[in-house]
Every structure is written in C-alpha cells, then in structure tokens.
Amino acid sequence: MTARGLGEFEQLVLLAIAHLQKDAYGIPIVEEIERRTGRSVARAAVYITLRRLEEKGFVSSWMSEPIAERGGKGRRYAKLEAEGVKALRDARRAAERMWRGLDPASLRVK
C-alpha cells in the first residue's frame, strides 16, 4: 500500500463516516462498522486510523461545544474530504478490476 493508498480498515472507517454524514464521531463510527461488518472493533484502532486519515487529508475534524454527559468534553466530528472520496473511489475501482473475470461463488482453494 502506498502512502496515498488505503488500508482495509481505513476504508471501513471512511465508509462509516460516509454513512453517518453529520453524526460521525468516535462512538457511532465504531458502532457503524460493527453493525455492518459484524466484527468487533478495537476503539483505539478507530482513533488511531482517524488521526492517520486526517494527516493524509482524507478527512477533516472539529470539536463540538463541551457536553455535560461527556464530562464536559466535546465531540470530535469527522467529515469526508474530497481527497478521501477520491481514495475510496480508487480503492473500489482497483478491487473491481481485480475481480473482473472471477466469480466469487466459484472461488476455491486448490
């Protein structure tokens, strides 16, 4: 994977942000991935990935106003950036190209 490419987990996080739209922060992102993929996700992995995606310019984030139920801390919301959308599309296209000519149902381990 190149620096501009996307890892599998990064794709999942980006897609979760895309699904959640304006509601994308730590908790719902974790829940969204778990709900859709059916696998459990390490919370720390999500935070680390979010930071990395932000460093790559794929997402941007901002802090909300402090909230009492959160012990006076705000939420860090994430938003998909154009670069992120492009990276998602590229990843999808690359995967599709690789699948071309293969039938998922007929794949066998030799």
Binding site: A42, R43, A44, I48, R51, G71, K73, R75, R76
Partner: protein, 895 residues
C-alpha cells in the same frame, strides 16, 4: 451530573496519560459518554470494570505510538534537557542546600538499598556461569513437591542416569569433604576438597594450566591417590613453582600426587581449589536412597534442551519409582539450572514472596522519592509565578517540565552516585567476608556490575521523574492557569491527600521502628564499649572436627567404633595439651562464651510461660579456666558427667535466677525445656549459680543474658570449640604449636578458626556495630525525611495563608492564636501518625512475644512518640514563626 456518574478516577488519569493530546479530549469524552449510558442499566461495579478494560485496551494500543513520539522528540533533541538546564539545576541546588542535603541523602540511601538488593538478587538468583556455554550446564536432582532438595543420596540414581540419560552429556557428581593438609613443617590445616568425577572437568570445559585434570581411570578404587590444585593454592602454598607436578602432599592419612594445576579463577563445582577423584568403594551397596550425599551435574547434549532432557529423565524416573521403595516415591526427578541446587532458587523463584520482596525494595525508592517530591513541590509552587511568566513569554509546557526534570535529575543523579558508592562499599565488605569464609561460589560476582550501574541510573531517572516531573506537571497544569490569572498575588496550591498520607505514614513508621532500632543499636554499642569480660591475651580458641572417611554400610557397631575413635582423639589431644609448658588448661564448649543456643525454659511448680534462655554446653574445667565466680552451690564435678545426658544437673547465672526463677534460692530447683511436639523434655536440677559471664555481654538480638549451662564430657562430640588458657605465651605464637600437636594426635583431627579469643570477640563486636550503623542509617533517614516533610508542609501552609494571617494580625489577633492555628494542621497529622505508630509498635511487640523491646517497650514507645512530636514541632516552628512575622501591610499589598 452526579458524582456517581463519574468514571473511576485512576482509570481516567491513566487514559489521559496514554492518549496523545490531540485525541485526548475526544477519547475521554467518548468513553465518558458510553460510561454514563451504561450506568443507566448496569450496576456501578460492572460499569467501572468495563471502563477499566476499555482504558487498558486503549492504553495498550496507544502506548507504542506514544513511545515512538517520545523517541522521535528525543532524537530531534526537543525534549532533551540542555546543558543550561543542568547548570540551572546545580544552581538551584546550591540555592537551597537544606533541600539538597536532606533530599539527596534520603535518595542516596534509597538508591543504595534498591541497587544493592538488585545486585545481590541478580548474582544469587540469576547468575551467569562464567564458563564456556555455562548456561547449558545443568544439575540433576530429586526434589519434593516444594522443589527443595530432599534427598542427596543419589548414588543409585546417578549410576542409572549415567548409563541411560542421553540428553545430558558427561554426567558427573561431586561431594565436598574437609581434610587436613600436612604442609612441609607437618602442621595440619583443614582444607575443603571436591571429590569429583573426572567428567566434571569436561563439563566445565576448562583445561589445566599445568599437568592434567582428573581422568576416568583415577576413579578406580585402589588406583594411586592423585590431586589437582587451583591457581590460588599453587601460588600461595607452592610459590607458583612450575615443577610442582609430581610432588606429594599428605591429605588426611594418605599421600597424594599433584597431577595438575587449574588456571586462575577456576573453582568448579562451587568454590573449590582442590580436586580428588570420586571413588566409590566397591563394597558400597548401590541401592535407592543410600550411600554418600552427591550433587549430580552435566552438560546438555548439543541438540538437547532442558525440556527434552527433562522428558527423558521423567521416563527413567517413572520406571525407577515403580521399582524403588515407597518412601522415596514422592520425590520428583528434575533437571534444573546448575546454580539452583546450591541456593534453592527453584523454590525462591517461584514463590510470590520473592516477587513481593523485589517489589518492596523497588518501592522503597518510590517512597523516598515521593518524599523528596513533596519537598520539591513545596518549592516549585513558590516558583509558580516564574513559571507563569515564562509561559507567557512563550515557553511550552514541555520545555518547562524538561527544565524542572533536569533540576531534579541533578539531585537524583548525585544521589545515585552516592548510593552506588555505598553499594560498592557494601559489596566489597560482603566480598571480603565471603573470601575470608572461603566459600563464595565461583559464579557470584559481587563487584559493581554494569547492570547494577545501569539500574542505578534508571533509579536516578525514576527518582527525577517523581521528584521533578510530578510536581512540574502539577505546577504547570490547572494551577498554571490560576497563577497566570493572578500573577503577582502568590499562587494558591494544594498539597494533595496522597502526600499528607505519606507524611502521616512516615511519622507512624518512625515511631514504630525507632524504639527497637534504638534498643538494638544501644545494646550493640554497649557491647562494643564493654570490656570483653575475660583476661586479655591469654586465650586461644579453635573449632575442631574429627573427620571420618566415608563409612561403607555403617552399622551400629561401626558408628560406635567411630565415636570411640573420636573420643580417643579428643582426650589424647587434651592430655597432650596439659603437658605443654605455658598451657594453664583447656576446655571444650559448644560455642564461644558470648554466643550459644536459645531455647524456652520452664520452671517446675511455676505456672508461667517459658522464657527464651541462652544455653551452653561446657565441661568441668570451663568456669575455673575463665575465673567465673560461683555465687551459690557448686561447679560441675567429674562424677556429674558419669550420668546419662538427660539426668545431668545444670548451672545457671544470676540473671537467670532473677528473671526465670523470680529470685530466691535456686539450688535444688528443677527446670526443663518446653515440650517440643509430643516429646516432653526431662527435668534438670540446678546445682550452682554463677556470676554473669562474659559480664553482661549480650548476643545481638538477644533480649537478656540469662544463661543455663549443661555439662559435656570431652569426646562426646566429634566437633566443638576448644579454648586454651596460656601463661607466658602469646595465643598467636601458640597457634602453630596447637596445629602441630593436633596433626600428630590424629591427621583426621581438623582445626579451623585458630585465633585468640580476643580477636574473635573483636570481630563479633564489630559485626554488631556494623548492624547498628545500618539500622541507624535507615532510621535516621526515615526520621530526617519525615521531619523534612513536616517542615515542608508547614512552610507551605504559611505561604498559602500569608494574606489571612496578615488580616488577622491587622485585626488584632494574638500571636499565640495565630501560631496555634498554623501549627494545628501539622499537629493533627503528627498526632495521627504518632497514634498509628504506637499501635503498630505495640502490635509488633506483641507478635514478637514481648521481646522486641525487651519489656521496656511500654516506656520507650511513648518516649519515642514524644520525641517524634518534638522533632515535628521543631521542624514546624521555623516556618510557623515566619508566619508570625507576616506584616499586614505587606501581605495585603501583594494582592
């Protein structure tokens, strides 16, 4: 939001520590939100556990990331303290020499104890064997379930293992014997010899310096006697003579030919300098659980591991167990690290006690460092304005923390150097001691190793983190914002509950440990100052032992014959000594006059708990030889010795009469040892009372000098202490004469520690003094640190309350009231600490059966408590007086 909806405090703190700053608020907020949500339908405990698990998982994931960042910043030099930081640190120390001295001394003692313990632990429990591929040398033994060596009579097993065990090569065995070595002048000297199979040298993989090592043929019974000697012996005894090979020396009764000299430092299997072949008399029955005690060792085969060797051994063992006797069936054959069998480390390593001990020693430094942190914090807070100004001028928090860390590191680094110095001195003393005793295993390296130095450096960093970073983080955290908001008004900060607890705990510990420490220290100092209680320059003392060759199939009659020969040897020796000119007399005792066993003794017809009493076995000439006066009754007479041991009378000293019998006429009263298990001990009748001897000298740790003397008849024991009184001869000059006589009486009669009684007593008193010094050092540093803590606390309070004091003075409050209110907090904590200390002291004394404080604890503990209060109040008085000098105008102007 209620307090009940707050996640666990420490978990939150850990979280904040682990998560990088840019994600910290978001992560903490998310977890908080989830916590509050869960609390709606889950009990608090379950939610807290969930929260902790989440935090731990986050910490594990973020830790490498954090670590890499720190490394990166170190690599770029951002966070590294600069030379200027260190120079500033030295200046700050010079500015507050009190803090530097107290804190430095405390930390030095802390580092010394921690690093010293580390060095000892490592060289004892995790030694590197300084032999080629030393880690592949193993010991094979039979252990009970607790992994303690149970049975060393391994001859039968050894023969089977040697034949069948393929995963361990060159399986060998040895046992240690002591024999007299006859030097040229015919003077005997007891030496320690390894009777070892020739394979031992192959296992060690060390070749001879001269000649050869032992060969398998040398093990044959009846082969000519050969011996290999060590480098030290070769140098000391033979002057490094290269033609020593082929020379004959007398070991015990037989002449041995020197066939080889081993190189310097070689002392395999343990601390040996003489090696003779292990020969098994062909008449020895080879049956399980019989024969001589042996240690079995070998080297793992090239492709073998400890586990594979163990598996092979297990197979052999299960067969032997099925065939062998039932009483040995519980033993477990095991392959262990070579050094383990000599230090029982297998058991030590596994026990939680061992882990706890390590923790405790490391923790000691943390306690000391926290203490110093209190002192430093109190000072750092007074600098909060400086810190605020620097922050306003653009210094980052990291920069300021780094500088405070550097200042602390100067202190802790100096302390570590001083601590290492103490460790070096201590290890050197230990080394000397073991060298004198001659039994330090060859793998023990008690020098200051690189590991120990690095460990001390680590401790210095740890100390600086606690002393520098903790107060710095606090001073630059929320308080900083406060200080910046109120620049020029003097920041108000708090000393947290943890630190208050620390001071209270320290006062408690001081009160609890000072009385017994003072008592013991006082006793040993008294002892060292006391005249030795017997005529100077007249007594020569030696330990003796009549050795025997290994007895094959020792029957009762064999054993009787051996005992008879020992008796003949001793009585002949005494007879020969009596004929020597200049010898006034000789006596045989169980130990030196100032030591002895300790056992609880009870009195017939008195319903009181048995009192621990010093016991000694002496012969009929003992009291006469030492001019001990008889106060009542009589001395032992020869016909007392004709009685069986259980029926013999006893003699007691005067403190026994007052303390055990409660005074009165002692003669004819009967005493006995407290029953041991089901066994009832026989009564002994008191026939005499003697004065205190040696006058009032106590063995260290003994609560009293009360003594009970039993009668022994020379020759009853094959080993004991011989003391000779001389006239017109110096003990030192008579020592070689004694050795010569002993050698001529019986070459198997071994003498050791042949020295004047004066010298032995001096050593004894000195070791007590060393112990007293150690105890004084520890209790002194605890006392110093706790009073420094109180001092810091009060100065802190006064600084905080300057304004309030100013106003109260302006309003006309009396000095006494102000002083009272300032001292109140310190006094409350002192009182609490003293209370805890009193209870602990009483409890400890009760646990030790009232002997910890020698019965005068009731007087001593309150005295210490009062002393501690006084010390505390003196420490508090300085800053409190400063509080009184606060001028109202000044205090208010600073607002």
């Amino acid at each position: 939001m209620t307090a009940a909806l707050t996640p666990p405090r420490f978990a939150r703190a850990l979280l904040r520590l682990a998560v990088p700053s840019e994600s910290r608020d978001a992560v903490e907020g998310d977890l908080h939100e989830l916590y509050v949500g869960r609390r709606q339908h889950s009990p608090r405990v379950a939610t807290s556990i969930w929260y902790w698990l989440e935090v731990l998982s986050l910490t594990m994931r973020f830790a490498p990331d954090r670590f890499m960042r720190v490394m990166r910043s170190l690599a770029t030099g951002d966070a590294l303290p600069s030379r200027l930081d260190l120079t500033l640190g030295v200046r700050m120390l010079a500015k507050s020499p009190g803090l530097a001295l107290v804190g430095g001394f405390g930390m030095a003692v802390g580092v010394a104890l921690s690093a010293g313990a580390y060095a000892l632990f490592n060289s004892y429990f995790f030694p590197d064997i300084p032999l080629p591929e030393g880690d592949r040398i193993v010991a094979v033994g039979k252990f009970d379930a607790l992994r303690r060596v149970e049975n060393e009579q391994l001859l039968y097993d050894f023969t089977v293992w040697r034949r069948e065990l393929k995963q361990v090569q060159d399986l060998g065995a040895f046992r240690t014997v002591t024999r007299n070595l006859a030097a040229d002048a015919g003077v005997g000297e007891s030496i320690i010899i390894a009777e070892m199979t020739a394979s031992g040298f192959r296992v060690a993989r060390v070749g001879p310096l001269l000649g050869r090592t032992l060969l398998d043929e040398d093990e044959r019974f009846g082969a000519s006697h050969v011996i290999v000697i060590g480098h030290d012996v070769w140098q000391a005894r033979f002057g490094g003579d290269p033609s020593v090979i082929g020379r004959e020396i007398h070991i015990g009764r037989a002449p041995h030919t020197i066939v080889g000299v081993m190189p310097q430092g070689f002392a395999f299997p343990v601390s040996h300098q003489y090696w003779i072949p292990l020969r098994i008399d062909p008449r020895t029955p080879i049956v399980p659980g019989m024969g001589p005690n042996l240690d079995v060792f070998g080297r793992l085969a090239p492709d073998a591991s400890k586990a594979s060797a163990q598996a092979e051994l297990q197979m052999i063992a299960s067969r032997l167990t099925a065939e062998g006797p039932k009483e040995l069936a519980h033993l477990d054959s095991r392959i262990v690290d070579y050094t383990d069998v000599f230090i029982n480390a297998e058991a030590e390593k596994e026990s939680t006690m061992y882990a706890f001990l390590r923790f405790l020693i490391a923790f000691l430094l943390v306690v000391v460092a926290m203490n110093v942190a209190v002192l430093v914090y109190a000072r750092t807070v007074t600098r909060s304005e400086e810190i605020a100004v620097r922050t306003a001028l653009g210094a980052t928090r990291g920069r300021i923390v780094t500088q405070l860390f550097a200042e602390a590191f100067v202190l802790s680094g100096l302390a570590a150097v001083a601590g290492l110095g103490m460790v070096a001195v201590g290890l050197n003393m230990l080394d000397q001691f073991m060298r004198d005793a001659g039994d330090a295993p060859f793998w023990i390296d008690s020098g200051l190793s690189l590991g120990t130095v690095l460990y001390a450096l680590l401790l210095a960093v740890l100390g600086a983190v606690i002393v520098g970073i903790v107060p710095a983080m606090r001073a630059t955290g929320s308080q900083l914002r406060f200080a910046m908001g109120s620049l020029g008004s003097g920041a108000k900060a708090k000393l947290g509950a943890t630190w208050t607890t620390l001071i209270v705990a320290q006062v408690g510990i001081t009160v609890a440990i000072l009385p017994p420490a003072m008592l013991k220290g006082g006793q040993t100092v008294r002892m060292a100052l006391q005249p030795q209680g017997f005529a100077q320059g007249e007594y020569l003392s030696a330990n003796f032992f009549v050795a025997r060759e290994f007895q094959v199939n020792a029957s009762e009659s064999d054993a009787r014959a051996a005992a008879d020969s020992a008796r003949v040897t001793i009585t002949t020796l005494l007879a020969r000594l009596a004929n020597e000119s200049g010898v006034v007399g000789a006596t045989i005792t169980s130990s030196a006059p100032w030591t002895g066993g300790r056992d609880p003794v009870e009195v017939e017809g008195v319903d009181a708990p048995a009192l621990s009493t010093r016991t000694q076995w002496v012969d009929t000439s003992y009291f006469g030889l030492f001019d001990v006066r008889v106060l009542a009754g009589r001395r032992f007479a020869p016909n007392d010795g004709a009685l069986p041991m259980a029926d013999r009378p006893v003699i007691v000293n005067s403190s026994f009469v007052t303390e055990v019998l409660g005074g009165g006429d002692a003669i004819g009263r009967r005493v006995r040892y407290r029953a041991y298990g089901d066994e009832t001990m026989p009564w002994h009748t008191i026939i005499g009372v003697v004065e205190e001897f040696p006058a009032g000298v106590r063995s260290s740790g003994a609560p009293s000098t009360r003594t009970m003397y039993h009668l022994t008849v020379p020759g009853e024991w094959d080993g004991a202490t011989l003391t000779i009184r001389l006239r017109g001869q110096r003990p030192e000059t008579f020592a070689p004469v004694l050795r010569q006589i002993a050698m001529s009486v019986d070459p198997m009669l071994q003498l050791s520690s042949v020295r004047s009684l004066d010298a032995k007593y001096r050593d004894y008193a000195r070791s007590g003094a060393r112990l007293a010094l150690f105890v004084a050092l520890i209790s002194g540093s605890v006392l110093l640190l706790s009073s420094a803590g109180i001092h810091a606390l009060v100065s802190f309070t006064v600084n905080q309350r300057r304004r309030e004091i100013g106003i109260r003075t302006a309003l006309g409050a009396s000095a006494r009231r102000i002083l009272g209110s300032v001292l109140l907090r310190a006094a409350r904590q002192l009182a609490l600490g003293v209370g805890i200390g009193l209870l602990t002291a009483m409890l400890l004394d009760r646990l030790a059966g009232g002997e910890l404080m020698n019965g005068i604890g009731l007087l001593l503990v309150p005295a210490t408590a009062a002393f501690m209060l006084l010390v505390g109040l003196v420490a508090a008085a300085g800053p409190a007086r400063r509080g009184l000098r606060v001028q109202p105008t000044e205090a208010l102007r600073s607002e």
